[in-house]
Symmetry: C2
């Protein structure tokens, strides 16, 4: 360990490499075939690791999906936050925050719905679930800020409104009858409901 430029041992580097391979394999297979049509065996094989090894990096298949997709939602949220500034009123500002998330979710409907299912019903003790939850929390905080800026609901009311918006988003993207809708149609569905609360 003479070199300060190499603080990481081979062990750490190997681990990182495997994680990268797993992420790449899962990302590609999920995108191409959908999470339900891909087996954990296939992912392990493509990542060139043993089947047991896969579960050292993500304890369940659901965690694997969260692991692979969280970053995209984080990026989407960042975009939404930026877009919200230019909106003419609360309703449009909230929708500006929501739009990239919905678009991200609808890139592949089944994966999107599975992602939501995993957030709502998955094991809250798993690390990637925690990461997903903090994205949800951050989303609500951003929406609460937007609502606060409007002033209509006061300091205390803003988080409640944000929570309500969360409910509407999750439900609209999850329910079976909305499965055929594309991002734009989902957004229209959400707008109609939020207009009741945030009439401009």
């Amino acid at each position: 360990m003479a070199l300060a430029s190499r603080p990481l041992g081979r062990r750490e580097r190997n681990k990182q490499e495997k994680l990268d391979r797993i992420t790449a394999a899962a990302t590609e297979l999920f995108a191409e075939h959908g999470v339900d049509e891909v087996t954990t065996q296939q992912i392990a094989e493509k990542a060139d690791i043993g089947t047991g090894t896969l579960f050292l990096y993500a304890r369940t298949k659901g965690e694997l999906l969260l692991m692979v997709q969280n970053a995209r939602y984080e990026a989407a949220l960042k975009r939404g936050r930026a877009d919200a500034a230019a909106a003419p009123n609360v309703l449009e500002a909230v929708l500006a925050v929501v739009r990239p998330i919905v678009e991200c979710n609808r890139m592949q409907v089944e994966n999107g719905r599975t992602y939501l299912r995993e957030i709502v019903f998955g094991d809250p003790d798993e690390p990637h679930h925690g990461e997903a939850m903090s994205i949800v929390v951050e989303t609500e905080e951003i929406i609460a800020d937007v609502v606060r800026r409007d002033g209509r609901f006061g300091e205390r009311g803003a988080p409640t409104v944000a929570r309500l918006v969360s409910s509407v988003i999750f439900f609209s993207m999850s329910i079976n009858v909305n499965a055929p809708l594309n991002a734009e149609e989902i957004l229209e569905d959400i707008r109609r409901q939020l207009a009741v609360v945030l009439h401009p």
Copy 2:
């Protein structure tokens, strides 16, 4: 088939008998141990039928849960509708409709959450899922009626408000962070959110 008093053949009677035994077995085992801790084998054994036979009556384990629980929710809804009449304002009326449903759902938290998961993510082509969906639709219709009676959101707005209420109910009962809450606490959570829309 000389007797008009026995229009059903042995075949139909046997089927009905088996269905009854399955329902009884599943009801008891789910209630006692929770849906996740019960195997389909156990249910089949307790109902005294082959494992394959079980799946002639409910195509998936999830369907089995819906089959067993739908009736309770239907009854809860009926109670709620009756209670709504006596409420002093819209918010209280909506909560009167919602209360029995939440109480029904929280009798056993894990089963309740699984029931919701099955409604939102289950196969919409299955018969018991369809039945569950029609309970949801009916709930929204009742809430829409209550909202219409208030007049605040007009004829067109009422179904949208009802849908929004659905979102809030489902989300509040489903999310992991609310898992420790009892029926009364869930209702309080729902009330806080609905108050934003239905302020008295």
